[in-house]
């Protein structure tokens, strides 16, 4: 009989996973289910939802550390930090809009288990870089702790960081500790309009290779820019470089970028409000139209991006973030299996492609997550079985048999 569980505390969570382990009953583990449509579809009768396992357990602004239960709405944590002039520096994006969900439904645990970061990843690191400690239940039904509540810690293996990007397949987190950061007082964006291909990636590389401390570097091509309302340079492509900090520092760094980008074109400046709204739409992918077809997420070295983009079939829309290295590719043909995309990535020097959005029949038959080399794939399976020997936690969500 199919069961759906909503534990309210750690003891109940342990109880559920213990039962599932004993009965070898697979569980679909979700927070709020906002990313359910991402990944390989699972044939799992039972659901374990963590949306009742909520609450901030500990937050001391002066220590720059926050501990919360896994099901706590991310929005609640962000609001609390905001009230204290702080933030999650990795600036998690929200998959909601592209997956046909509302904004703001993600949980804390779901965000970390999918290692969801945003534009500031290039400067501040990914979600995983901010995780300090964790309490979780393995697929064996055992509650374990890893890491701690301090920033510098090398005591034992870094299981807390390794939990990130495991998509609920290794363990179910009950509470997680992250480091938080002071929020910048203001921001501005330096824009270059009309750059194409290597001109744009070259400009972003130059900016990131300068001492201007750029905290966001994205390129929105003409076709996408034309769809945006507001001041986006009249339908020309936009190469955007964000600067954050105190006012006098930003103004000074605008000067650095002007010098560095002298040859790249005319520089225009977006003020704080315009900058904020542009980066929100990049972060949450609302620059894309609603009916975007399939969506791929690709990470490559920035200078490899142009070769990958050149290999794409007609009709694809690509937005580049992370200095050009993160490609969001909207493909009107939602039945493609990604073989030629992945081949292009390999021949451009390596990286990976994840199918973020596609109909279920496609996700059922192709590699949603980037296929691994045989040795790494075996290591992945061994790690999985050391945490979850009976394969009861999100079986098959990432890879077949994992």
């Amino acid at each position: 009989m199919a069961q759906s569980f909503r534990p309210r505390d750690t003891a109940e969570l342990v109880e559920v996973v213990k039962w599932a382990a004993a009965e070898q009953q697979p569980l679909e583990v979700i927070g709020n289910g906002s990313k359910r449509a991402l990944g390989r579809p699972m044939q799992v009768a039972n659901t374990l939802a963590l949306d009742h396992l909520t609450g901030v357990v500990d937050y001391e602004p002066a220590e720059l550390v926050l501990t919360a239960r896994a099901g706590t709405p991310l929005a609640e944590i962000q609001a609390l930090l905001q009230d204290n002039g702080q933030e999650l520096a990795f600036e998690p994006m929200d998959y909601g809009p592209v997956l046909g969900e509302e904004l703001g439904r993600a949980t804390f645990g779901g965000t970390l288990s999918a290692n969801v970061s945003g534009p500031r990843r290039i400067k501040a690191g990914a979600a995983r870089d901010h995780v300090l400690g964790l309490e979780a239940v393995s697929g064996r039904g055992e509650l374990f702790r890893a890491g701690g509540r301090v920033v510098k810690n090398v005591t034992g293996y870094d299981l807390a960081r390794a939990f990130c990007a495991s998509w609920g397949t290794l363990a179910v987190a009950s509470t997680i500790t992250v480091k938080v950061a002071p929020k910048a007082t203001t921001e501005k964006t330096v824009c270059l309009f009309g750059l194409q291909g290597v001109e744009a990636t070259g400009a972003m590389s130059a900016a990131l290779g300068s001492s201007a401390e750029v905290s966001g570097a994205a390129h929105v091509p003409e076709k996408l820019a034309a769809l945006q309302s507001g001041n986006w340079g009249g339908g020309r492509s936009a190469t955007l470089l964000r600067l954050e900090g105190i006012e006098e520092s930003i103004d000074y760094r605008v000067g650095i970028l002007r010098r560095v980008l002298e040859l790249a074109g005319t520089v225009e400046i977006m003020d704080a409000a315009a900058s904020f709204s542009v980066w929100q739409s990049i972060r949450n992918l609302t620059v894309f139209p609603h009916n975007l077809g399939a969506l791929w997420r690709v990470s490559v070295a920035p200078t490899a991006a142009d070769d990958v983009i050149a290999s794409l079939p007609e009709g694809c829309l690509v937005m580049q973030d992370w200095g050009g290295g993160l490609l969001w590719i909207a493909d009107p043909d939602d039945q493609r299996d990604g073989t030629s995309l992945r081949a292009a990535i390999a021949s451009a020097g390596g990286g990976h492609a994840t199918l973020v959005k596609a109909p279920e029949n496609v996700r059922n038959t192709i590699d949603v997550f980037h296929p691994q080399e045989p040795g790494l794939s075996l290591l992945t399976k061994r790690l999985k079985s050391q945490f979850d020997p009976h394969g009861i936690l999100n079986p098959g969500r990432m890879y077949k048999g994992v």
Binding site: K18, A62, V65, A126, V154, G209, S211, A301, F387
Partner: protein, 498 residues
Amino acid sequence: MSGIAMPKPSQELLRNKAQIVKDLQRIISGEGVICEEIELRPYETDALTAYRQIPLAVVLPETVEQVSQILKYCYANEVKVVPRGAGTSLSGGALPLADSVLMSMMKFNQILDIDLPNRAVVVQPGVTNLGITHAVQHEGFYYAPDPSSQIACSIGGNIAENSGGVHSLKYGLTTNNVLGLEMVLMSGEVIRLGGKHLDAEGYDFLALLAGSEGLLGVVTEVTVRVLQKPETARAALIGFPSSEQAGQCVADIIGAGIIPGGMELMDKLAIDAAEDFVHAGYPLDVEALMIVELDGPEAEVDRLLQEVSSLATQNNSTYLRVSETEDERNTFWAGRKAAFPAVGRISPDYLCMDGTIPRKALPQVLKRMQVLGEKHGLRCANVFHAGDGNLHPLILYDANNPGELEAAEAFGADILRLCVEVGGVLTGEHGVGIEKRDLMPEMFSETDLKQQQRVKCAFDEKHLLNPGKVFPVLHRCAELGRMHVHKGQLPFPNIPRF
């Protein structure tokens, strides 16, 4: 040698030494295999010199193929392998076992690719930490994690220990600055992770390798991220009449939303020793000395330095000097960077501890450490990465006085217990190794430690790679895999369903 038990050597392997050496020489010819006792001596210890043991043999491979062949051979013949970089580990991570093959990675010393448009550098693991910065500094770039041992320590060792430095407060530890690596598993299999792109796909094996202390795989190639140097850096030297006031000032600076490039504290004993050694111009009439470095654009640095100065005044600082030149800034740091050797001059031996605590516990911990020192009858100099709560108490002792090493170790253990008690951890950057191995249960439960060992089992199910380190009790993987379940238990009837 005091009370840390290492795995018992296999008498059979010791008897077969000649054959093993011959087999290894078939894989690496010439001087790549060392087996004479006198030549093995230099490898008997790392920077935790209280522990020494010569290995069965030392191998110095030069190619990934050789590393793989040696490991394959050792795997088949159940020979233990201890990887070694530059041997600067302070926790005994590279201590050999009598029946082990020590694998030195120092012939892997090439920089393979400098790719500045992508801000990535690919190096072999024996390249020194500072060697990476030297390779890119002509273009204004540097590699951010900067352990004090950076002239000597290898990037392979940095990965194994997840090393940090003065600038980790702002720029992160090794784990935050590595993009990819290649490693060879004990079975001889070569695995590549990540690359020049951000965020490797699949499980975060890079996170597991950083801080794995040579127990998971032998690292044969590393891709790191490099950064453009901040435009300016200026430091303030601030003296306080008490450590409590200094500790409060640290909390206030962070609380004001300022993340300095580095923020270090030294206590009276350390200040005196450092000043005596390098003549950095430190004030000698203060109880605690803080170095705060701000980096970034000039306008920002100037403004933040003003804020820091006024916070210092509010906390009753009695000395304040802001660096006006690069030379002056370097002088401020010279004393701090030489603090370990400086303390080495005032005491025949010292033990360097490495716990981390929540910043707010600083005043309390400093006070209680003093009490502990009196209890053990030993002095302790304190140097710490104050910004991230990472303490380096240096316990002064004389190994020639019977019982003093033991007393120093007991004092150290008490300090680390105190760190855990106030919500901190046993080691911030030096690693567990053998030194803190038996204290692991202070911080982790049996279940926690078993889950960590299961990770080891996914990489090295025979426990042949660097055994005897990190884990106080070694469980066989088969035993760890067993599950004790009670069938038929229905889940909590009260758990809400939907």
